[in-house]
Amino acid sequence: MVLLLSIAAGALFSAGLYLILRRSLVKILIGIIVLSYAVNLLLFNSAKLIPAHPPLISIGQLSPPEIYADPVPQALILTAIVISFGITAFAVVLVRSTYKALGKDDINLMHCTDIPCESSEVSTELEKEGSQK
């Protein structure tokens, strides 16, 4: 089971990384979402997977049984899911308003904050390149 989960997490990581390296902003967004799933799986895997042994102390005893499932990773994942949900929601809105403000979702064309846009030679050249694709 651990092996399966690790392979799944690894596959998600590589898929997310591939998507992040794309030029389209929407694909980058999906890549980040996939990456956050991958991290959640990794966190889930970070303690031993023990089925059917809840971390409860039975009546009359002072310590938990010798074998029990570690509850901490679940708590971590829950927090991580909530956070990534909030951030994803913000990112979706940002992507939308980017498209509204700039009219493009190709990040190669978003260079105005790095190369000042007055140097119009660069931008027309890049746009030509973009339209050819």
Partner: protein, 494 residues
């Protein structure tokens, strides 16, 4: 008591959301709030200096099972300087933030950002640190995009994507740490990481943390998001970010690499040293090529981050003390410089160095409050920047790093060069382009007062180097000896 720097911003943040409709009340609250935060942090600093490291356990769980909040001297210093910057931002924003941005929640976000920053300084738990980082990032994401101007949106995209990636890496490293050691309490980790049988795994995780925090603190070669985004929002927001955000990254680097990952110093700290050399030089070379006031200053942030990491890379008591001293100096100088950029923009209506000029003859006072932090940043005596660099170089001589000393001095010289460039372009040269702005535009006291405040604190800080250095040395002694930290968390029974 030590939870106050988290609770107060939360309280004032909620309060300013309640007064959403009334911008006036929010502005008043921002000043009241930052003053109360400043008072509480100064009290904490004095208390910690007297009584040693303080720790509390959230929900009264016995450590290491619950979340601990720990304040040592280094955290306390960072809390105070963050509160000073916050107070000055609150003043500057009275006029520096337009009504549109104010109406859409600048002040609540400002307080939430402050809460995240303070939380990151105080927490003693690795996962909790992640949560505070996210609180801080979430607020900063909205702040950088607030206003939705074209360049702002573009900068925000770059900022958001790279910072999310860094958070992901941070979370991966945290998960792997839990897998390896089975705890996330930093004091407990400090004890148990050295007991891990396969030390190469610890080093691997250390490098993952290094990458994650290097993105946050904009170190070479992971700094590209910073000059692409920091100059797009209004100057108030940029000053806030430059004063606090990247410094939180450096703070966590110092915390993590003095408390947790000290098992393989020859490897990890050598990497930090090399990174610092490149960060310093690439940052300043980038700055030399800029013609936009804010972009130039953004590149200087990167260059100064290099100096801070240099002190960590040497890993001696003196070098860490120099880093701490440098941190306070650079936060004051940098924020003041951004304020001046905002004032210059207010007077002449541009950030482009080519379009500015001739301010010295018309506004001599503003020229002087630019010159002092600029020279201090370059490291001229008797200002604080000189003593900060001197302390670093003395520490480097003691560890025989002559190559680093040469790099450090050259970068210092280049900083002076690019500051003279700004001085020539903005203050001395005749204005080449005529525009319709008048040089005698009145500047609001709300913009001048915080700038003068920061500059004078910096000058006083430089004059009282001896006692300040004493505190920094005390703080770095605590950093070099994790036993004290561990004892404070576990209450005498480690």
């Amino acid at each position: 008591m030590i939870a106050l720097p988290i609770l107060l911003p939360l309280f004032f943040g909620i309060l300013s959301i309640l007064f959403w409709k009334s911008l006036k009340t929010q502005k008043l609250l921002s000043i009241l709030g930052t003053i109360s935060i400043l008072t509480s942090t100064i009290y904490i600093l004095l208390f910690v200096k007297e009584n040693g490291i303080q720790a509390i356990q959230i929900g009264n769980w016995i450590p290491p099972f619950g979340i601990s909040l720990v304040v040592d001297l280094f955290s306390a210093i960072m809390l105070v300087i963050a509160a000073i910057v916050a107070f000055s931002i609150a003043c500057y924003s009275q006029k520096g933030i337009d009504a549109n941005r104010g109406k859409f929640g600048f002040y609540p976000l400002f307080f939430l950002l402050l809460m995240g920053v303070n939380g990151a300084f105080i927490t003693g738990d690795l996962f909790n640190l992640y949560v505070w980082f996210e609180v801080m990032l979430m607020a900063s994401f909205v702040l950088i995009a607030l206003g939705s101007e074209r360049p702002q949106i573009e900068g925000a995209v770059k900022y958001v994507v790279l910072n999310m990636l860094s958070s992901t890496l941070f979370l991966i490293a945290t998960g792997l740490t839990y897998n390896l050691v089975g705890t996330l309490n930093m004091a407990d980790l400090s004890i148990n990481l050295s007991k891990v049988p396969m030390q190469s795994q610890v080093t691997l995780i250390a490098v993952l943390f290094l990458i994650a925090f290097s993105i946050k603190s904009a170190a070479f070669p992971l700094f590209f998001w910073l000059p692409a985004s920091y100059h797009t929002p209004p100057v108030t927001v940029t000053a806030l970010f430059s004063g606090l955000l990247t410094k939180v990254g450096v703070y966590t680097l110092i915390r993590v690499f003095t408390l947790l990952f000290i098992t393989d110093i020859q490897y990890t700290h050598l990497i930090i040293l090399v990174i610092s050399a490149f960060t310093m030089s690439v940052g300043v070379l980038g700055a030399a090529a800029q013609t936009d006031f804010r972009r130039l200053l953004s590149f200087h942030i990167i260059s100064q981050i290099g100096y801070l990491l240099w002190g960590l890379g040497m890993y001696t008591q003196q070098s860490l003390a120099a880093s701490i001293y440098f941190m306070v100096h650079v936060i004051l100088a940098k924020t003041a410089l951004f304020y001046v950029a905002g004032i210059v923009n207010h007077i002449q209506g541009s950030f482009d160095l080519k379009k500015l000029g001739n301010l010295y003859s018309s506004r001599i006072g503003i020229s002087i409050i630019f010159l002092i932090p600029a020279l201090s940043l370059a490291g001229l005596p008797p200002l604080s920047g000189f003593f900060a660099k001197l302390a670093l170089i003395i520490a480097a001589f003691k560890t025989n790093q002559y190559a680093m000393i040469i790099v450090g001095l050259l970068v210092s010289f280049m900083t002076l060069y690019s500051m003279t460039k700004v001085w020539n372009e903005v203050f001395w040269k005749e204005k080449k382009y005529e525009n319709d702005t008048k040089d005698d535009t009145p500047v609001s006291h709300w913009m001048l007062a915080p700038t003068i405040l920061l500059v004078s604190i910096m000058v006083v800080y430089g004059f009282f180097t001896e006692p300040m250095m004493e505190i920094a040395l005390q703080a770095s002694a605590q950093l070099m000896n994790p036993g004290e930290y561990i004892q404070a968390v576990f209450g005498g029974t480690p």
